[in-house]
C-alpha cells in the first residue's frame, strides 16, 4: 500500500498556522489539479482532483470521512474513491515541537473547521512542481523563536484490475505531492501575512 509521511516545522505561531489552514479556501488552490470540493457535513466532504496517471490526466472524485478528532493535536480520516476503486486513511498532527513546547501557543477557533481544513491538506493529486524553488525561498526556521510542527501521514490503495499498476504510479506521486504542499504552506504562511495571500 503506497504511503507517505511528511513533517515540517513552521517558524510561526501555531495560532497563525491554524488561522490559515482552518479555511479550506486559503490553500485548496495550492493542490495541483484541484478542481472542487463540497462540504457535506462536519465529518464528510467530497473532492475532485485532476490526477496525472501516466501519459494522461483524469478527474478523480473521492469522499473524505473524519473518523477521529482530538483537539487540537490530531485528526484521522478515511478516503473512499467515487470514480475510481481506491481507499485510504491518514492523519494530521499539528502541534508544538518538543524543544519549543514551553512557547506553545494555544490553538483557537472552531474545531469543526480546523479538522476539516487540516485533513484536506493531505488529499491526493499532484501539486505544482515547484518544490525545489520553494525550498530555496523558505525562511531559515532555526533563527525563529515561535515554531509549529505539522506532520501528516497518508496511506492509499487502489484496488480493481489495474490496482497494482495504479499503486506503482501513486507512491512517488504522493511523496512529491506531500513534499511540495508542505513547502508551499511554509512559503505562504511564513511570508508574514498569509491571509493576505491572493489565490491563484
Amino acid at each position: 500500500m503506497p504511503s507517505v509521511t511528511c513533517s515540517r516545522i513552521l517558524a510561526v505561531e501555531q495560532s497563525t498556522v491554524w488561522e490559515f489552514i482552518k479555511d479550506i479556501g486559503n490553500w485548496a488552490p495550492f493542490l495541483m489539479g484541484y478542481q472542487s470540493h463540497e462540504v457535506i457535513d462536519e465529518n464528510r466532504s467530497t473532492w475532485t482532483v485532476r490526477g496525472e496517471i501516466g501519459a494522461f490526466t483524469r478527474n478523480v472524485r473521492f469522499d473524505v470521512d473524519i473518523k477521529e478528532w482530538v483537539v487540537p493535536s490530531r485528526v484521522s480520516f478515511r478516503l473512499q474513491g467515487v470514480t475510481e476503486p481506491f481507499e485510504g486513511s491518514g492523519s494530521v498532527i499539528l502541534g508544538v515541537p518538543e524543544s519549543d513546547r514551553e512557547h506553545a501557543a494555544q490553538a483557537t477557533g472552531s474545531g469543526r473547521r480546523w479538522r476539516l481544513g487540516a485533513l484536506l491538506l493531505m488529499l491526493t493529486g499532484r501539486w505544482r512542481r515547484r518544490a525545489r524553488t520553494l525550498r530555496q525561498q523558505a525562511p531559515n526556521t532555526a533563527e525563529t523563536a515561535a515554531q509549529t510542527s505539522l506532520s501528516f501521514n497518508l496511506n492509499l490503495a487502489a484496488s480493481g484490475m489495474t490496482g497494482p499498476v495504479i499503486n506503482a504510479m501513486l507512491e512517488p506521486m504522493m511523496l512529491q505531492a506531500a513534499d511540495e504542499l508542505a513547502d508551499r504552506l511554509i512559503e505562504v504562511i511564513s511570508a508574514g501575512d498569509p491571509l493576505a495571500h491572493h489565490h491563484d
Binding site: A55, R58, T83, P85, M161
Partner: protein, 559 residues
C-alpha cells in the same frame, strides 16, 4: 516543460549544421529507420522533429508490424511466401494498389526487418495466434505475420534525458506488456487474470511497450550511432532549385529561422493528417473523426510537398476505429478518446445507432467504422454516426472496457435494468432498442447472428472470447444493461502523397521530384489500396524509410 531551444544529441542547443547528406523530417518509425540506414552507410543524417518527443504516429501505435514471409516464421513452423501475400493484397485492394510499390513492399520488408533485428538490435519476436484481418481469404494467414518487440527498458537503454523524450501513447499508459505476453496470458478478453503485480514492477522500472517500445529500441541505436536528432525543430518549407529539392527551412521553438541543405535528399516522414481537422475536411468524405494519434501529426509534410507540385492520392481517407470517452480524461491537451476495437466483439454486446438499430458486424471494426462514417443519400445524413455500445451484466463482469476492469462500474457509465430504460438515458429510441435486443437474442442463444454475422470471419472470432462457444462473439444479452457512446477516431491516414517504389514523391504530372522522398503515412497507401491490416502501416514506414535513404545514397535498391 517545453524546451526553449531545440535539443540535439550534441548538447542542449542545436548545432546549426548548414548541410547534411540526408535531411529526415519526422522521428517516427520511417524517420528512425531512415536515420539508421544513413548512419550505417556513414552518411550524415539530420532528423528534424517538430515536437519535444521522439516517436510520432509509430509511438502511438499498438506496435504490431505486419510482415509476410518474415524471418521468424519458418523457425516457428509457419509457411509463407511473397507470392501468397501478393495474391492476398491484389485480390483485396479494390484495384487501387500500385503493383510496383506493392511488390517492393512485400519483397523487401522481410529483409529490412531482419536487418533491424540483426544489425540494429530491435528484438522482433513473433506474435503467435493473431490472424490477418482477412485470414480466410486467398493468401491470408491464421498466424505468423505479426511481429512486435518485448518491452523496452527505457531507464537501462537510454540516457536519462532521452528517456523522457521517448513518446508514450496515452492509450497504452500503465500497460507495459508485450503482444507475445498478451497472447500467452489469454488475450485481451482475459485481462483480469493477467499478472498485474508484475506489470506494476515494470512500470516502476520505466519499461515501455507497444509502438513506444520499438521506437525506444531504434532510438537507442540512433544514439549509439551518433545520429543528429533535433527536437522542437519544425521544417516549414522545402527549398527547391531548378526543380530539385535541396533542403528545408526550419523554425525552432525560440523563433529562430534557419535553412538546412540536403546533399542527397529530403525524406518526409511526418505522418499523415489525422490530427488536422481542416485537412480532413478538405480531403475526406467523412471528416468528423477524432484524432487519437500523435498530436503533432498535422499534415505539414503533405502541405510542404504540395507546395512544390507533388501529387496527392485519395485512398480511403483515414484509418479509423470506434472510440469512447471517459469523462474528465485528457491527454496531449485534448480530451482522451480510447479506441474500442475489441470490446464490441466480445459476446454479450452489440452496437446500435440512435434509432436503436444495429448496423454492422461488430466483431470486425472495419465494417463497423465504414458504416459509422457512411453518408446516406436518401436521408442526406450520417445515420450511424451517433453510435452506442450496449452490453449486459455478464459482459460487465467478464471483460474490461479499456482501463475499467471487470465488475467495476464507475458513475459515468450509463446503466439500467432494461434496454428501454437504458435507451432513455442514452437518448436512443427505446422501443426500437428493445426490439433489436429481442431479435438479436432469438438467434444468439444458438450462437447465430443472421442479420450481421458476428463471428463469421476468422479474425472476428479471434476478437471474441474463446471460452464462449459455439460462437466466441455471440451470446444473448440479459440482466442489467450498460451503454457508452461511440465516436469515430482517426489514428492515421491512407490518403497522402503519391510516391513510387523507391519512396520518391511524384509530381502532380507523374514524374519523381528530384531530391524529395516520402515514407510512412505521409505517403498514400499505394502498396495496399483499400486493403489494410493491423501493423501494415508500421511495416511500410520501416520498409520505405530504409529504401528511400538507400536510393538517395547509393541507388542500390533495384525494385
Amino acid at each position: 516543460m517545453r524546451s526553449a531551444s531545440p535539443l540535439s544529441l550534441t548538447g542542449g542547443s542545436m548545432v546549426h549544421s548548414p548541410e547534411a547528406d540526408v535531411v529526415i523530417i519526422g522521428s517516427g518509425g520511417a524517420g528512425l529507420a531512415a536515420a539508421l540506414t544513413a548512419a550505417e552507410q556513414g552518411a550524415h543524417a539530420v532528423v528534424l522533429e517538430g515536437s519535444r518527443q521522439v516517436g510520432g504516429t509509430f509511438a502511438y501505435s499498438a506496435g504490431l508490424v505486419w510482415v509476410a514471409n518474415n524471418h521468424l516464421m519458418a523457425g516457428s513452423g509457419f509457411s509463407d511466401s511473397s507470392e501468397e501475400a501478393l495474391s492476398h493484397i491484389r485480390a483485396l485492394s479494390g484495384g487501387r494498389h500500385d503493383e510496383g510499390v506493392l511488390q517492393t513492399f512485400i519483397e523487401n520488408a522481410p529483409r529490412i526487418i531482419r536487418w533491424l533485428a540483426d544489425v540494429m538490435h530491435v528484438p522482433f519476436e513473433l506474435v503467435v495466434g493473431y490472424p490477418d484481418y482477412y485470414a480466410d481469404r486467398l493468401g491470408g494467414k491464421v498466424s505468423g505475420r505479426y511481429l512486435a518487440t518485448p518491452v523496452f527498458p527505457a531507464s537501462e537503454l537510454l540516457p536519462p534525458e532521452w528517456a523522457s523524450r521517448l513518446a508514450v501513447s496515452p492509450h497504452f499508459a500503465g500497460l507495459p506488456a508485450s503482444w507475445a505476453e498478451i497472447h500467452e496470458w489469454g488475450g485481451l478478453a482475459a485481462m483480469a487474470s493477467w499478472d498485474w503485480e508484475a506489470l506494476a514492477g515494470r512500470f516502476s522500472s520505466d519499461c515501455r511497450a507497444f509502438g513506444s517500445a520499438i521506437i525506444g529500441f531504434m532510438l537507442a541505436e540512433c544514439l549509439r550511432r551518433q545520429v543528429d536528432i533535433r527536437l522542437n525543430c519544425r521544417a516549414t518549407e522545402l527549398l527547391i532549385e531548378g526543380g530539385t529539392v535541396t533542403g528545408v527551412k526550419i523554425l525552432d521553438d525560440s523563433g529562430t529561422k534557419s535553412e538546412l541543405r540536403a546533399k542527397r535528399g529530403v525524406l518526409l516522414a511526418t505522418g499523415g493528417y489525422d490530427s488536422n481537422d481542416a485537412l480532413k475536411k478538405r480531403w475526406d468524405t467523412y471528416s468528423s473523426t477524432i484524432g487519437i494519434g500523435s498530436p503533432g501529426v498535422d499534415g505539414s509534410g503533405i502541405t510542404m510537398a504540395l507546395e512544390v507540385g507533388a501529387g496527392f492520392e485519395v485512398l480511403d481517407g483515414q484509418i479509423t476505429t470506434p472510440c469512447y470517452h471517459i469523462p474528465g480524461e485528457e491527454a496531449d491537451d485534448r480530451p482522451l478518446f480510447r479506441s474500442a476495437v475489441r470490446e464490441p466483439a466480445f459476446p454479450g454486446g452489440i452496437v446500435v445507432n440512435a434509432a436503436g438499430k444495429r448496423f454492422a458486424d461488430e466483431s470486425f471494426f472495419r465494417p463497423l467504422c465504414q458504416e459509422m462514417a457512411r453518408f446516406d443519400v436518401i436521408s442526406q445524413s450520417y445515420p450511424n454516426e451517433n453510435a452506442f455500445f450496449i452490453f449486459d451484466e455478464e459482459w460487465k463482469q467478464s471483460y474490461s472496457l479499456g482501463p475499467i476492469g471487470p465488475g467495476e462500474s464507475p458513475p459515468w457509465l450509463v446503466t439500467a435494468d432494461s434496454p428501454g430504460e437504458l435507451a432513455a438515458q442514452l437518448r436512443i429510441d427505446g422501443a426500437s432498442l428493445e426490439a433489436t435486443v429481442r431479435a438479436y437474442n432469438t438467434s444468439a442463444d444458438r450462437g447465430l447472428d443472421p442479420e450481421f454475422h458476428r463471428g463469421s470471419t476468422l479474425y472476428g472470432r479471434h476478437n471474441g472470447d474463446q471460452r464462449v462457444q459455439p460462437n466466441p462473439c455471440v451470446r444473448a444479452l440479459k440482466g442489467r444493461f450498460y451503454g457508452v457512446q461511440l465516436r469515430l477516431a482517426s489514428s492515421g491516414t491512407n490518403s497522402g502523397l503519391a510516391s513510387n517504389n523507391c519512396g520518391q514523391v511524384l509530381h502532380v504530372r507523374g514524374y519523381p521530384i528530384p531530391g524529395l522522398y516520402a515514407a510512412g503515412n505521409v505517403a498514400a497507401n499505394r502498396a495496399e489500396g483499400f486493403w489494410i491490416n493491423s501493423g501494415s502501416s508500421n511495416a511500410k514506414s520501416l520498409t520505405f524509410g530504409h529504401l528511400a535513404v538507400k536510393h538517395m545514397l547509393d541507388g542500390a535498391h533495384k525494385k
